[in-house]
């Protein structure tokens, strides 16, 4: 058995050992607050078992292992529906960036360890009402205030801000230069005076995203994580971290097996739906597509194991998987006809077709919309020209609104 196989076996055994305490069944019927509390205990258990910060340096409380071990663990973890969602952003982007760019090492270490134990949560304050994809067009501003800074403005779509202790934020510090040159990157205390968090209820009924308002929020200059005016490159670095996370060719919706089961149970025109050509075609097409993504991801893992950088085709995962999950979910509702009307707002998108359907649009927008991903593929991989950008090179305060 290879070292990695042994690692996988151990990870799998550990996950199995905590299913009764933290698995899907244990979470059933909990309020969000109760689930978060359970999640914090789960995160602590991971930390104690050596499965938190798997590929982070040991000096920060990590395990000092490779990315391959991390995604190996995540692939095992994903099977059980553990309450880890509250820490996904926190440990995925803001905290790694803090490790990379935070100036005060003692402070950073304390934060990182608390985040790894689930005691503290970090959020990422990037998108704004005026734009998400156009990150550099943000309007929230920080002005000098004595030796420090004063922040005013509004962020939006901030995941888990209502439970966050800290956040990383990009703000405009100079409106007189081109838009991406006038930005600076800070961390902020989410409990500081002047910070107001207001949850946004989404179409599916849950409220994990928020509006965050900043009214004269004062921070000292030691919160700064980039040179003044150098915030955009740190923001890009944030978005580049974790490009190869554990992926799911089901687009974080139900597995295709569940659709096949449904088609075997239900009848269309008096015959099992699995015998209907329209249904068969969809099953076959979805299988081929998902098998392709699975193969891409297996090759990416092999390349990482071999010390190589995986190819750019990994960028297809979210684009292809979520889009097709949306259509397959619609089809699953079609199959059930009027029996599909009954709706459980608390059902999991991983095993409930209606939940998968109603939450699918979020997946196609968050973390890079389909259109943004297509632009990225076209420009970065295929070398096609950028879109026409009328605001290019123009000082931010002279861009026509």
């Amino acid at each position: 058995m290879s070292d990695l196989e042994a690692y996988r076996t151990n990870a799998s055994a550990w996950c199995e050992s905590v299913v009764a305490t933290f698995g899907k069944a244990a979470r059933k019927g909990l309020t969000v607050e109760e689930d978060l509390a359970l999640g914090r205990r789960y995160q602590k258990a991971k930390f104690d078992a050596g499965y938190a910060g798997i590929n982070w340096p040991t000096e920060y409380g990590g395990q000092g292992l490779g990315h391959i071990e991390k995604i190996t663990f995540e692939a095992e973890e994903m099977k059980h529906g553990f309450p880890n969602v509250y820490f996904g952003i926190s440990l995925g982007m803001p905290v790694p960036v803090l490790m990379q760019f935070g100036a005060d090492k003692e402070f950073v270490k304390e934060r990182v360890v608390k985040a790894l134990k689930g005691e503290e949560i970090w959020c990422q304050l990037f998108s704004e009402p005026s734009g998400g994809t156009d990150l550099a067009g943000l309007r929230t501003r920080a002005e000098t205030d004595g030796n420090g800074w004063k922040i005013n403005g509004q962020k939006v779509w901030t995941s888990w801000a209502q439970y966050s202790d800290y956040g990383v934020i990009v703000v405009r510090t100079d409106p007189t230069v081109a838009k991406h040159k006038g930005l600076t990157y800070f961390w902020v205390d989410m409990k500081a005076p002047g910070v107001t968090v207001r949850p946004i209820k989404l179409a599916g009924g849950d409220s994990h995203v928020n509006e965050v308002f900043f009214d004269d929020v004062k921070i000292s200059d030691d919160h700064r994580m980039s040179p003044v005016g150098g915030g955009f490159s740190v923001a890009l670095a944030t978005l580049m971290i974790e490009r190869y996370v554990a992926t799911d060719s089901a687009g974080f919706g139900p597995h295709l097996d569940l659709f096949v089961d449904l088609a075997k149970e239900l009848k269309l025109n008096g015959r099992p739906a699995i015998e209907d050509g329209r249904i068969r075609q969809q099953i076959a097409r979805n299988y081929a597509m998902r098998a392709g993504l699975d193969s891409i991801n297996r090759r990416a893992r092999l390349m990482m194991q071999a010390g190589m950088t995986p190819g750019p085709e990994g960028s297809l995962n979210k684009l292809v998987a979520v889009r097709s999950r949306q259509k397959l979910s619609e089809l699953a509702l079609d199959l059930q006809g009027t029996d599909a009307f009954l709706f459980d707002e608390h059902a999991s998108p991983k095993d409930d077709w209606a939940s998968s359907w109603i939450n699918a649009p979020t997946g196609r927008i968050a973390g890079g919309s389909d259109e943004t991903l297509l632009n990225t593929i076209a420009e970065r991989i295929l070398g096609l020209p950028q879109d026409h950008r009328p605001d290019k090179g123009i000082p931010f305060n002279q861009i026509p609104a």
């Binding site: 097409r285 092999l302 071999a306 297509l374 632009n375």
Partner: protein
């Protein structure tokens, strides 16, 4: 299973691309469309000289004992450049059928010639839309074959065919010596495929399997060929994606490259997705030869490769506008090939059913 190509395999890809690109161009291929009974001789000579015909066959019969992964790499390059003859896949299918299901005497008789390329083989299973028909159009009895097989790719020049026939009320897989067979060339939209209608009239033929065994063997041979073809289709789709990309960068309209318009660049980015999914499935299927889920992997590879090539052909022409539909630019060579490859070895309907039967647990 899934693999990374090793150095030797990468060398096969590079060398085969160099060899094919040096010997074949669209100017050679366009005239072949307008005549029947001709294929691109330089392509086939190259295939023989380079040992591609021998690649995936056993050493005992003059083969090189490599496998689907390596043959797939060559098929991919052939697909990029539009191969000038169908024999690489058709002979491979016939040879594998003989290797896997034939007697020692049958192997001795046919495999050395197929490995060297001196003999050409093909398969004749289909009847119209049925890739493995319930009622085959040829019947076998007492070492003789009667009936017909229509639309056989490579059939115009094949020396030997593996025929899916019937014997009594059971299916039969037989090796037919085509030397005395009556062949009529099919005037097709892709004439270098050398498609023929074959008439068997007391044609000498030896039985290799009957009943369920014949059907299982035939499906396995089709799947082996389908994986080779999936690589060829992926290569064609990849070439079209690159052609579309290059055109979108150079062609200007309204003061900018047309590739700066999202309606164009997103179309090409979508092609990238089709190509990479097809490639991933093809590699996985090639590496799965011999495993229990080979047929499933082959079906997935076949479906995504057909979709990739058809879509790329459609969209690449569309992105070119008027010039794209001209005879001279030759994009229609890919359009034609995308369709001929989609029909050989069973259409998407066939592979969808093969796949779903397995996913639904109706077939182990």
């Amino acid at each position: 299973m899934s693999i990374l190509y090793d150095e030797g395999q990468q060398a096969i890809a590079t060398e085969s691309r160099r060899a094919i690109e040096a010997r074949i161009s669209k100017d050679d291929l366009l005239p072949l469309l307008q005549t029947t009974g001709k294929y691109h001789e330089a392509f086939w000579t190259t295939a023989k000289e380079q040992g591609w015909t021998a690649l995936a066959l056993p050493e005992a019969y003059g083969g090189l004992a490599l496998g689907l992964v390596e043959l797939g790499l060559i098929a991919h390059q052939a697909g990029r450049t539009l191969s000038g003859a169908p024999f690489l896949t058709s002979s491979f299918g016939a040879a594998k059928a003989i290797e896997l299901y034939g007697s020692d005497a049958q192997k001795e008789r046919w495999l050395p010639g197929l490995a060297s390329g001196e003999a050409i083989g093909t398969i004749a299973f289909a009847s119209g839309p049925d890739a493995l028909p319930a009622q085959p159009t040829a019947t076998w009895a007492a070492d003789r074959l009667n009936g017909h097989a229509n639309g056989v790719s490579g059939g115009l020049f094949a020396d030997v065919a593996i025929v899916f026939a019937s014997t009594g009320d059971k299916p039969a897989l037989v090796i037919a010596d085509l030397s005395g067979v009556t062949r009529t060339a099919v005037d097709s939209f892709d004439n270098s495929r050398c498609i023929a209608d074959l008439v068997f009239s007391g044609t000498p033929a030896e039985l290799v399997a009957t009943g369920d065994d014949a059907r299982t063997a035939a499906l396995h041979v089709l799947a082996l060929q389908a994986v080779v073809t999936a690589h060829e289709q992926t290569g064609g789709a990849e070439a079209l994606m690159e052609i579309a990309r290059d055109y979108a960068i150079t062609r200007k309209a309204f003061g900018q490259p047309i590739g700066a318009f999202q309606s164009i660049k997103h179309r090409i980015a979508e092609l990238y997705g089709f190509v990479e999914l097809a490639r991933a499935n093809a590699i996985h299927a090639a590496a799965s030869e011999g495993s229990s889920d080979f047929i499933t992997a082959a079906a997935a590879a076949r479906l995504s490769a057909t979709e990739a090539y058809d879509t790329a052909a459609r969209d690449c022409v569309q992105i070119h506008g008027g010039i794209g539909v001209t005879w001279e630019i030759g994009l229609h060579l890919h359009m034609r090939r995308a369709r001929s490859l989609a029909l050989e070895q069973g259409s998407s309907f066939f592979w969808e059913d093969i796949l779903v039967d397995r996913l639904a647990g109706d077939v182990a």
